[in-house]
Each structure stands twice: as structure tokens, then as C-alpha cells.
Symmetry: C2
Subunit: 359 residues, 2 copies
Amino acid sequence: MAKDNISRKSALEEKEGITSPETTSSASANRIKTNRKRQPSVQELVKGIINGDITALSRAITLVESTNQRHTEKANAIITACLPHSNTSKRIGITGVPGVGKSTFIEALGVYLTKKEHKVAVLAVDPSSTLSKGSILGDKTRMEDLVKDKAAFIRPSPSGNSLGGVARKTRETIILCEAAGFDTIIIETVGVGQSETAVHSMVDFFLLLKLAGAGDELQGIKRGIIEMADAIVINKADGENLKAAKSAKLEFNRALHLYPIKDSGWTPKVSLCSALEKEGIAEVWDMITDYIDHTKNNGYLEKNRSNQNLFWLLQTIDERLKSNFYNSPKIKIELKNQMQLIEEGKTTPFAAAEYLLNL
Amino acid sequence: MAKDNISRKSALEEKEGITSPETTSSASANRIKTNRKRQPSVQELVKGIINGDITALSRAITLVESTNQRHTEKANAIITACLPHSNTSKRIGITGVPGVGKSTFIEALGVYLTKKEHKVAVLAVDPSSTLSKGSILGDKTRMEDLVKDKAAFIRPSPSGNSLGGVARKTRETIILCEAAGFDTIIIETVGVGQSETAVHSMVDFFLLLKLAGAGDELQGIKRGIIEMADAIVINKADGENLKAAKSAKLEFNRALHLYPIKDSGWTPKVSLCSALEKEGIAEVWDMITDYIDHTKNNGYLEKNRSNQNLFWLLQTIDERLKSNFYNSPKIKIELKNQMQLIEEGKTTPFAAAEYLLNL
């Protein structure tokens, strides 16, 4: 049909056919078009979110995740309107290497909480999802029970080409979920790059899920994960694994005691659980509520959230300063030239930096 | 005397005294003044440095370390002129906690090298020196023999209010020392903040000095020091310590094998020494020359220096972008305001960053 608009030089011409089937009147066609294009307004979405409408929440998150400038503006207006209704939940970060049973654990914890009348949102930060075209939490079948649960909301990791971008979207989604009445926000991450640091900087409580005898303790120490953890939970502590899990608990307790006391005044705990058997889940939750009570009383919870805000403010500024500088076409060319001059021993990195900054 | 220039309204006036003692003729006074003020030119300093004149080298380093803009320009001209004569030495970084015997070790290694006709420069990176008003290497009496050695040049850590600044000055001093004919540059640092990372990024070989049974292995792993080390040398391996040192060697060897193979293709080594008894020093030096040969052959040495240049280029740009932004008076005020608004839940860190960047 598109070809009909091209004027034909050929003798093989076609007569124009009927452009609309007769059964569709132009009036009803227009009505369909209008309805299809009509997006809910900022006010409607905010109202929906505050009333706990999951469709409104999902739509708003889609706006937050969009790279379209118009969507971003709309998202910012929604977030600002939701801010007074946020800051109310327990924010829990959960990390662990693939295979440790994160999904099973989060499902067990989530179902346990919704049974206790909690409203649970499960989010994720996975900057690798862009590369692998997959994403954690993407496969919702891994949390079958929780997906069906009306009091739970599961959202896979946003995609993005930088951890900063992914983290920002998740952090803004927390605000929307809190405004929608979710009192417990669980944020899952895997040990990719700095994603654990990013999640640690947006939660109140950071939980490291481990297996007994996995032998990756050194990795955890090296990358500072054990240092960040408020709790280490050893999963799959059932059946034949139980003995090994108990001795791993002793070892981790010893390792944790080598670190200085945390600013929160909280001594990190090690506990056992079997997410599959739904054992030890209540104990983990009790520990989390103990921690929240403890840090609410000593003022750390509030201070920490305020520090996290400052961290994200400075982090965002730094990222943007850099991307503005390095994305300038002039700098891109001159950076190459200066690097060449450094290679040839004709300038120093410091003189080159000076030159580039003065452009 | 200065008061004589002020016109007096008071009746209590003094007659001007004799402004110059008669024994000093104005001609000789002028000569003294001219000589005192006369600073060697860039050309003179460069010529002196290339001829191995230590006074010229010291003066040029003083210009590098100065915060005076005119001095900086002069320093940059000298460095540029010295660049073709640089890049020639073995650059060795040495770190270790206070008390491990760094000065004794560096002195033993330095004296061993000058006896073998090497020319050795010893520099330092200690960003804490500004705060404590002291500095490592400041107390030259700790290296009595090396100080007297004509083939050695010892320069304490420059001071500065940022690690970046201190590191930059030391890195530029390396160029000057190399141009002055020093074939071995030893750079000392202590484990303060990120100073080890800075030194690691300006040397070919990074040596971690340890004591047996000091029990700070976890710290070394946590802070990534063990990962950076090309060698761990256990000092004070003498007398009653020898047995403990030998078992520490086994332990460190085991720990090192948990790390992946380095880009240099070099397997980090553990060795014993007693800097006080001058034992094991030759073995350390043989190891360093082995490393240099190995990395010269496989091209890593050159590639690493080139990566280091890139690192310092980007690092300097990032630091300057930030300081330019945050030192703007407008930003200083508005940053405070935005932080207040975040605290009050009226804006998000991301919206605040956006606002500040658009100012």
C-alpha cells in the first residue's frame, strides 16, 4: 500500500484499492486512536499510586525507566509528588553469587511477610542485564507463589548502559513503591562490578546470602562485601549440608569479628536457613526488625538515609561532570591527540590534562 | 625603619638615621641583592639536571612542589625539557605499616645498589604529612649511610592538601630524577588512605614489606594491597624471628596463589630478609631485575607505563572537573540549599544534581 504514493514511471500500474474496510466507520476509527494515544496524566498516576493501584505504579515506573525526555519530565513530577508519602519502608538489600538461592530465599521471605499483612515490593539492580539481554528477576516463574500474591509487587532490574543509571532508576522506584504503600522493599543484586556498593547505598539493611564451603570468602573480603553486610545468612542449611553450614557459621562469625565496630553500633550476625524448606526465615526477619529498632533508637537509620542522599547527590554530579566533558566532540578528538603526545614522550599526563581542561 | 616612610603629623618627629652602615658600599650592597634575587633560568636548571647536578635537581623539585603559579610554569617547562631524558629507570614502590622497618630496608637496598655503581633516588608519597606537619623520610637521620652517599638522592614527601596533588608532584619528580641520571627510583609510602594505589600507579614493581605474625593480613587483603604486590618481603627474619618468618612465608605464598594470574604474567614472590643484618637484600634485588627482564621481554613494562600515563591523565581531569565545580561560590551556596531541600523531602538527590548542573 505504501508504494501507491510513489508516482510510477512503469506501465505496470495498479488502481488504488479500498483504503478502509467498509465495516469501520471513520468516527469509530478516530475514537480508537484517541483512546490508544491517551496517557494518564501526572495527577491521575500520583492519585493511583497513593491509592495503591498497581497499574498506576507500573506505568509510573515505566516512565522512570524511559530514556525519552518527555517521559523523564513526567516521571520527575510524579516522584516529587510522591516524596511526602515515601521514606516509610524497611529497605533491605540482598546479594549473593548465582546459585546461592536468592530467588527462593526472597520468595520465602516475601510470602512469610505477606502472611503477616506486610506489603512487599521486590526490585533488582543488575547492570549486566543490558549486555546479556536478560536480567535477574526477569524470569518471574522463579517466584511463582510471590507473583500470584496480591500483597507483593515484583519488578525486574531496569536496563541501562551504566550502573549509575540503573541504580538511579531503582532508587526512584523505591520512592514510588513506598508511596504506593509497600512497607518492605527488597532489592536484589548479584556481585557484578560495583552493583553491591550501589545497592548498599540505597538500603537500611544489607544481607549477604552464602553457601557453606563455597570457598569464596576471600572474594567477599577483597571486594568489601563482608564489610558491608549487616547479616550473613547461610542458605541450604538442610539435610547433609547442615553440619557444614554450622561450621561455616562459626568461621564467618570469626571473620566478622576482625572488622571494626560499625557506625550503626550493630554487630553483624550470621544465621542459617533453608529457603527451600522455609526454615530460618522467621529468624532472619526477627533479626532485621531488631536491626531497624536498634538503628531507629540510636538515630543511625535516619542519619544513614541522609548520608545516602548526599552520596547519590555527589555521585550523580560527578558522573554527569565526566560524561559532559568526555562526550564533547572537541574533547574526544583532542584527548586522542594528547594521548599520542604522551606516548611519544612530548608531554606529561598533567600538562595534557591542563591543556584539555582549558579548551 | 619602615616607619620612616610614613609622613608624620605628630610633633614627635625623628631625624632620619644612617640607612646603611658605612662599611657597606652601595655597590657591594646591590651586588648582594642581585645575587640573592637571581634565580637560575629554565635552561640553566635543565642543563644542570642533565649533567647530574644535584643542586639544580633540588631547585627544580622545589619549583615542582611550589604552589606559586610562576613557579609552576617554570616547573612545567623544565619537565617538558627533561621528558626526552626520562623513562629510563627502574621504578620501585615500597609500602609497609609503620614499624616494619621501611627506612632500614631502603637504606640497605640503596647502599647495596650504589656499591654496584647504581644511582639511587629515594622519594616518598605521604599525604598525611600536611596534617601531622611531619613527613616520612623527613627525618633523614634514619638513613645515615645513604644520606652521605654521593650516588644517592633522598627527597622527603611533598606536602599537599590532596593525595592527587602529592602524587602528581612525586610523579613529576621521577621525571627530573631520571633526567639527572638516577637509574633506580625507590618510592616509599605508608598505608594511609589510597596512597598505595597512587604509588602502585607510578612504579614498575610494587613491594610489600611485612613482619612475621603481625596479624594484619586481613587488612592487606581488604585494602587490595596484597593484590597489588609483585613481592612480599618479610623483614626482621633474623635470630628468634627466623622460624616465624619462614612459616609466614609459606602462608603468604598460599594467600598469593588464591589470586588470579597478573596481567604482567609474573607470579608474585615471597622472600625473607633482615635489613638490619643486611641479609637477603641481594636476593630482593635479583628478584626485581628478574621482574624487569621478564616484563621487558613480554612487553608488559612498556604497556603498563602507558596505562599509568592514561590513568594519571584521566585522574587529573576528574579531580579538576570536580574541584572547578565545587569551588564555584554559586555552587557552594546552592549545594547547601539543595541538601536542605533533600533533607526536608522536597526534592530527590537526582533532581537536585540536575538543578545544580544547570546553574
